[in-house]
């Protein structure tokens, strides 16, 4: 927590008014957040604050419903209201908002994907991240600390360099570092006696991390201020369709709600929701585990990922080392997995960063990630008129949150995809137009 309180109070409020980025012009309805406001209310015990979002009763009918109150769903509602001026929008969340993968991921943000379609999508998100705190007037703590991806074999180097070149052509920053440059950028990195030596690294300086809860809350607060109803503890139990087969609403644990447009952003539970409309998707849901260490003083300046030995790590603002593991081998909805999975991740971390061997795991948890055959998402219309789906983010959904929400809102509002998500259809699997990011991991000779 900061010792220093000399904040540029002047202009914070003002900045909010001129904040560029979607929705900023509607800020009026919201209690502005600023250092000045904190100082003022501090004199009266911070009593003046009101709920960041309401807890409304569901209305009988909305223009659009978003199923799933994670970052993607809340963001979609926010952009529907702020950019597409949809009259009435509700987000239906079966639990508490941000309680799924939004609140369970390792918060890595990058856009150095191999294929042009992916790079365009994730870089769209990255650009929105850069102004998100100001657009939402909520500090999502986006920290562009740099994401460094290690190469351990000749094949790794070929793949990494292909990424570097492809990204450069696509206008996405990504640069190649020698092992020495990699260590200079991340001093705790060990280069000695490794089973798989570090032969170099690809670095995206614009990449980094953000505060995951703040993303959900920030979107919720901003969307709520624009009239979006955020309805928690409201589980969708059925999707209702008219004689023509088009969507006319949903059944929920809080009663039926009518709407001609329903967007599903339910991550690991997407298959369950879509089955209600008779749609089977190319999706499988796997447990994905992550963990944090006890908080320590700043020791890790960036994000480091190693696909070859399967681990990624960063340090949070609170001081915890945030470490991701791979998915468990089998599909599951339990939000937990086996001990051998985090153990393997820590083997890799201790190999790359032997300084951290005596640090201790504080918390381990699991999420449910929905994975497509080509490891790319689906952001598209469905065979059912009025039903839209945003899923298949696998282990990489958090980084895409603003971009995904932005183009999904467009798709729902105009009943046609934004150019950026046009390639991410359901049909691509039938036609063979896959966007196979997994291919980059193709095992070599």
């Amino acid at each position: 927590m900061p010792r220093r309180m000399s904040l540029p109070f002047k202009g914070v409020g003002a900045h909010v008014l001129v904040a560029r980025g979607p929705g900023a012009q509607h800020r009026a309805a919201m209690q502005p957040f600023s250092g000045l406001a904190l100082l003022k209310r501090g004199l009266t015990g911070q009593r003046g604050w009101t709920p960041q979002w309401r807890s409304p009763q569901p209305k009988p009918v909305y223009d659009a419903l978003i199923v799933g109150g994670g970052g993607h769903g809340l963001g979609t509602a926010y952009y529907l209201a702020s950019e597409h001026r949809l009259g009435s929008v509700a987000v239906l969340e079966k639990g508490w908002i941000g309680g799924g993968n939004t609140g369970r991921n390792t918060t890595i943000i990058r856009s150095n994907y191999l294929f042009d379609e992916s790079a365009a999508l994730y870089d769209h998100a990255l650009k929105l991240w850069e102004g998100l705190a100001q657009a939402l007037n909520y500090n999502v703590m986006f920290s562009q600390r740099g994401v460094m991806m290690l190469a351990h074999t000749v094949h790794d180097m070929q793949v990494s360099k292909r990424h570097v070149h492809a990204n450069r052509a696509a206008g996405v920053d990504n640069e190649w570092l020698t092992p020495e440059e990699a260590k200079a950028f991340c001093p705790p990195l060990n280069l000695q006696g490794l089973r798989y030596p570090v032969l170099g690294a690809a670095l995206q300086r614009r990449g980094g991390t953000a505060r995951h809860d703040a993303v959900a809350w920030g979107y919720a607060r901003a969307a709520d201020a624009l009239g979006v109803d955020i309805i928690e503890n409201c589980e969708v139990t059925a999707i209702r369709r008219d004689a023509a087969g088009a969507v006319e609403g949903v059944e929920t644990t809080r009663g039926p709600i009518r709407a001609r447009r329903v967007g599903v952003a339910a991550a690991g539970h997407t298959s369950v929701i879509m089955k209600m409309a008779g749609i089977e998707l190319p999706l499988e849901s796997y447990p994905l585990q992550a963990l944090v260490s006890e908080p320590v003083k700043p020791v890790f300046p960036c994000v480091v990922m190693s696909n070859t030995i399967h681990a990624y790590i960063s340090q949070s603002d609170k001081g915890e080392l945030v470490i991701g593991a791979g998915t468990d081998a089998y599909t599951s909805y339990t939000q937990r997995g086996g001990l051998h999975i985090p153990s393997h991740a820590l083997e890799a971390i201790c190999e790359l960063f032997p300084l951290f061997r005596r640090l201790r795991m504080l918390r381990n948890w699991g999420g449910i990630v929905d994975v497509t055959p080509d490891r790319s998402p689906i952001i598209a219309k469905t065979p059912v008129p009025g039903l839209y789906v945003n899923c298949g983010w696998g282990t990489g959904g958090f980084k895409a949150t603003p971009g995904s929400a932005h183009v999904f809102a467009w798709t729902i509002a105009r009943d046609e995809p934004h150019p950026i998500n046009a390639p991410f259809t359901l049909e691509r699997f039938r036609e063979g137009l896959l966007i196979d990011e997994a291919a980059a991991a193709a095992v070599a000779h």
Binding site: G99, D116, A170, E294, E347, E351, R357, R358, A444
Partner: protein, 1014 residues
């Protein structure tokens, strides 16, 4: 410094063994059996830490794993520095060096405490509301400062030299917790003949019994409790079917009754055995589990409740009875629970003046306690509440009053240096909850208790709300017997069928009566207007009642939201002392009941566990297995530089003198082209496909037509996935009508065999085929080059003439007197052979060929030269020139497809529209205008020069080398509609400028293929 607060006698410390230690450089002494906390306390040290956010001075709240305040670093040497340890869990040893944390410049005087003054302006979640302007300042200014202020201890500065071990174990009954319930359970299970593991996080088994006053503790089985304990433990220790694990924390409960245990082996020793691991991770698969984890005393939440000297009543009993330390001289007891009376009486008997007992409950304590308090002349103030406390680095007074029907009366200021608090007990249901067992709120006990189980587990004793010793023993005994019975029952499966165990988690309904009176309080004490100061809920993270109120005011209604917004319960103690109080406060604020608000999820680990313990021995060369070929020694003897390919080590090149990669590779390539080279191809995957239906199987699997392949012939085979993309390739030899020798890529061998087994077992089980991996049965020696025949002729009985063994011919015979499968195949475009011999003979045959080769200019070459040689011929490498999105036609392999075949794996997918699109990326050659320029692999191919991002490249360079034999650079690339672009000039984008290239055939050398048929 003397141990002024040590009692004259008693406790479980060994007063004959004094131990010297330091804290922040200052020297102290304690006794064997002390914890760092008890030793410091005995030396009059109360201030042991600073809180996370406000840097408030803090002393001991608790005596065990739940301690939130006394976090220290222990330093054995520069590399053995461990931060964030609880002083209550650090065993004292001679020379122990402990350091305080999160303070500057010193623990006593910490500038960080300025945050405390700013507290009104930095409430829960303040950082979400500010630091947003200007945009760039977050990274440049605010975040670095926030980070510098955050964190507790420092990470070690040097790599950890210690070892960590790993052990797997199976048992009938695992008992977690060595208190009375656990020991009773272990006794019962063991005497029923079960294989038992009993673990406890403390250095000594006994749990709550260790904190009792031996003189007043109730007897067990008619003898003093500690005698019973010693006898029971002796019996267990002498039972070969029982494993006792002290200093071992059961930290995690995983599916199907697998528990993770962390055993601390050497941290408590002054001079650890250098051969012993520091910690050992146990993974115990238990048929039945008995949780006897006990309960944690709950603090009371009132203004100023966090000053040093304010501690849990039970902790005070531990200091006194277990460690022989008087935690103060003048005490005030504030309680909502009978247990604190016992502490008051014991401390008074030990010489502490107990000024009064502030009874916060409306009703009085159980008559027995009221009477004993009266007899001891300790005044009891009923319906009491706390208005505040004072004292900077230690409490020196507490303001009390009586609060009845909102009326405050009988206010009094009590001077004191010790305040004992007790809000009742929180059963440790962590592991039960981790196992996905259900919890029910028990209003009587103000606690969540285990309900139905999801695994084969039952709880016993205090961890399910059974507190009275007699009941605890009976409960543990019953749980142990039942567990042993279930564990050894016939036809049992390891895990519960879906649905889990029945209604109750224990041996029977928990007897409430004995405990009911000592219910306690979940929430905060009523706060009169006159009260002053903040009331802390989470000590370590500095979460106050105001923070929780703010969170609810701001609309955070789910307890998960409140937790994340205020960080309550998210400190290194995981909310052991704070969660239930936080729940009570939030429930009250929301006007809901505690069960309505719910409980946050319990996550592993129960207490923090070293990374090293999880990683175990996996480090350096033990991180992953290393696979080497039979000729590995020969290659390393020749100074080969190796590369990692999967688990394999492969010789990449053989530098001579001061050669670099390029010089060595150029020399090796020329040797293979002009004389002959020898290459170790043993890592190639090999699968023997045998059986009546072997041909049918191969026809269905690979794209090629195998029917026309006669025995004694080989063919280049291409394998697709059913999605139509190239998956693997390799030479396939037919040795007999019913026998194929299939080779795969080095990395692909396991995947290909798994895929073959998948189709054979699940799609075509009717086929009579056997699959055997023979990768490690054969050493493979490739002899390539114009002189290859001359080299081998004298060594083998296989006829090598162009007619006897033409290109793609295979023969079996003997070489150097050992059996061989001799392939005439070439991945270089030269006359070449691949000599397969049984792996054990590999080195000998290699040496023989090497000797014979000397007369013919033989040179060993590595994988890099192999890559160049094959690229000169336009032979692809799957995974380098293909990437999982490439069809056979894209790679120029359409010729390999058996057109007449009705089906093969992947054929149907090739019929999809996108797979035949004209703009698909196809494999072509690229020739730079300047022959000296070698393109970078992965570089993007553009239609125009100087195209600026974002652009849509036509494709990318997949392979690029300098070809010594051609005297120029060559490259392979995947280019959109590439084959139609032959002769066109395209541009390869570089960081600075673009390189003009001409599209060519991918075959650069000997396009007519004369040499290969020589």
């Amino acid at each position: 410094m003397n141990q002024g607060l040590r009692t004259s006698a008693g406790g479980r410390i060994d007063r004959s063994r004094a131990l010297d230690f330091t804290f922040d450089g200052r020297a102290y002494t304690g006794y064997a059996g002390d914890s760092l906390a008890s030793a410091l306390l005995a030396n009059g040290v109360q201030l042991m830490g600073r809180s996370f956010k406000y840097h408030r001075p803090r002393g001991l709240l608790a005596a065990g794993a739940e301690e939130p305040n006394a976090l220290v670093a222990v330093r054995r040497d520069a590399a053995r520095y461990t931060p964030n340890l609880r002083a209550t869990q650090v065993e004292l040893y001679q020379g122990l060096e402990a350091l305080s944390q999160n303070r500057w410049p010193s623990l006593a005087f910490d500038l960080g405490a300025v945050n405390d003054l700013l507290a009104p302006f930095i409430p829960a979640g303040f950082y979400y509301k500010t630091f947003m302007w200007p945009r760039s300042a977050w990274r440049a200014l605010y975040e670095p400062r926030i980070r510098a202020a955050a964190g507790l201890g420092h990470a070690p500065a040097l790599p950890d030299p210690d070892r960590y071990a790993n052990r797997y174990a199976h048992c009938d009954v695992l008992v977690v917790g060595g208190g009375p319930a656990g020991v009773a359970a272990a006794n019962a299970a063991a005497s029923a003949g079960a294989r038992v593991v009993l673990c406890d996080e403390q250095n000594e088994l006994g749990g709550s019994l260790l904190a009792d006053d031996p003189r007043s503790a109730p007897p067990i089985d008619g003898r003093p409790a500690l005698e019973w304990l010693d006898a029971s433990l002796a019996a267990l220790a002498s039972n070969p079917r029982v494993t006792l694990l002290p200093r071992t924390t059961a930290f995690g409960y995983f599916p199907h009754n697998l528990l993770g245990l962390n055993q601390r082996v050497t941290d408590h020793l002054a001079r650890p055995d250098p051969n012993a691991p520091r910690e050992r991770l146990w993974q115990v698969r238990a048929r039945e589990v008995v949780l006897a984890a006990g309960a944690i005393e709950r603090p009371l939440v009132f203004p100023g409740n966090d000053r040093p000297g304010i501690m849990l009543a039970g902790a005070a009993r531990t200091w006194l009875n277990r460690y022989g330390v008087l935690p103060g001289t003048r005490a005030v007891v504030v309680t909502a629970c009978d247990a604190a009376y016992e502490a008051a009486l014991e401390l008074q008997a030990a010489g502490v003046f107990v000024a009064c007992i502030a009874e916060t409950r409306a009703g009085a304590a159980a008559p027995v306690w009221a009477e004993r308090a009266a007899a001891a002349r300790i005044p009891v103030l009923s319906s009491a509440t706390v208005l505040g406390t004072s004292g900077r680095r230690r409490v020196n007074s507490i303001a009390l009053g009586r609060l009845a029907d909102g009326e405050l009366s009988a206010t009094q200021l009590q001077p004191c240096d010790l305040v004992l608090i007790s809000g009742g007990f929180t059963p440790s249901v962590h592991l039960h909850s981790q196992s996905r067992g259900k919890l029910d709120w028990n209003a009587e006990l103000e606690a969540f208790l285990p309900a139905s189980s999801a695994e084969r587990v039952r709880s016993a004793g205090a961890c399910r709300g059974v507190y009275a010793l007699a009941a605890v023993l009976a409960d543990g005994n019953a749980a142990g017997s039942l567990a042993a019975l279930d564990a050894t029952a016939r036809g049992r499966t390891a895990v519960w069928p879906a649905g889990g165990r029945g209604p109750t988690a224990g041996a029977g309904p928990a007897p409430l009566a004995p405990a009911a009176r000592s219910s306690g309080l979940a929430g905060a004490l009523p706060r009169p207007a006159q009260a002053r100061g903040r009331a802390f809920v989470d000590w370590q993270n500095d979460v106050t009642t105001r923070d929780l109120a703010l969170a609810t005011r701001e609309g955070f209604r789910s307890i998960e939201h409140v937790k994340r917004y205020t960080t309550t319960g998210m400190a290194t103690d995981q909310g052991k002392t704070s969660n239930v109080n936080a729940l009570g406060i939030v429930a009250h604020a929301l006007g809901k009941s505690i069960p309505e608000v719910g409980l946050t999820t319990f996550r592993m680990p129960y207490t923090p566990v070293s990374f090293g313990s999880f990683a175990g021995p996996a480090r350096g060369q033990l991180f992953d297995p290393v696979r080497t070929t039979p000729m590995h020694e020969w290659a390393s003897g020749r100074g080969a530089v190796f590369e990692d390919v999967g688990l394999w080590k492969r010789a990449r090149y053989f530098p001579r003198g001061g050669e670099d990669l390029h010089a060595a590779v150029a020399r090796e390539c020329l040797a293979a082209r002009r004389a002959c080279g020898i290459f170790d191809a043993s890592t190639l995957g090999k699968i023997e496909v045998v059986g009546r239906d072997a041909e049918t199987f191969m026809n269905r699997l690979y794209v090629n037509a195998w029917t026309s392949l006669a025995p004694g012939r080989a063919r280049y085979g291409v394998l697709l996935r059913d999605d139509g993309f190239v998956y693997d390739d390799g030479v396939v030899a037919r040795l007999a009508a019913d026998r194929f020798h299939v080779t795969t890529t080095t990395g692909g061998a396991p995947r290909v065999l798994a895929m073959m087994e998948d189709y054979l077992q699940t799609e075509w089980p009717d086929l009579d085929v056997w699959l055997t991996s023979t990768t490690e049965q054969w050493a493979v020696i490739a002899v390539q080059g114009p002189n290859a025949r001359a080299v081998l002729e004298g060594l083998t009985d296989v006829g090598l003439s162009a007619t006897a063994l033409p290109h793609m011919g295979v023969a079996t015979g003997r070489i150097c007197g050992v059996p061989t499968r001799l392939f005439r195949v070439s991945f270089t475009g030269e006359l070449g052979y691949e000599v397969n011999v049984p792996a054990d003979f590999g080195p000998a045959v290699w040496e023989a060929i090497w000797d014979a080769g000397q007369a013919h200019g033989m040179t060993p070459y590595g994988t890099e030269a192999m890559h160049v040689l094959r690229a000169e011929k336009g032979y692809i490498i799957v995974g380098q020139d293909t990437d999982g999105t490439v069809t056979p036609d894209d790679a120029g392999l359409a010729w390999a497809i058996g057109k007449a075949k009705a089906d093969f794996v992947g054929k149907r997918s090739l019929m999809r529209p996108a797979m035949a699109a004209p703009d698909r990326r196809q494999l072509v050659g690229l020739l730079t205008a300047d022959p000296a320029v070698v393109l970078e692999e992965g570089a993007q191919v553009m239609a125009q020069a100087g195209s600026r991002p974002p652009t849509r490249p036509l494709g990318h360079v997949t392979s690029s080398y300098y070809s010594a034999v051609l005297g120029r650079s060559i490259a392979l690339a995947l280019v959109a509609g590439g084959r139609a672009r032959k002769g066109q000039t395209l541009y390869v984008a570089g960081p600075q400028d673009d390189t003009a290239v001409q599209v060519s055939t991918p075959v650069f050398h000997d396009p007519e293929g004369k040499r290969i048929h020589a």
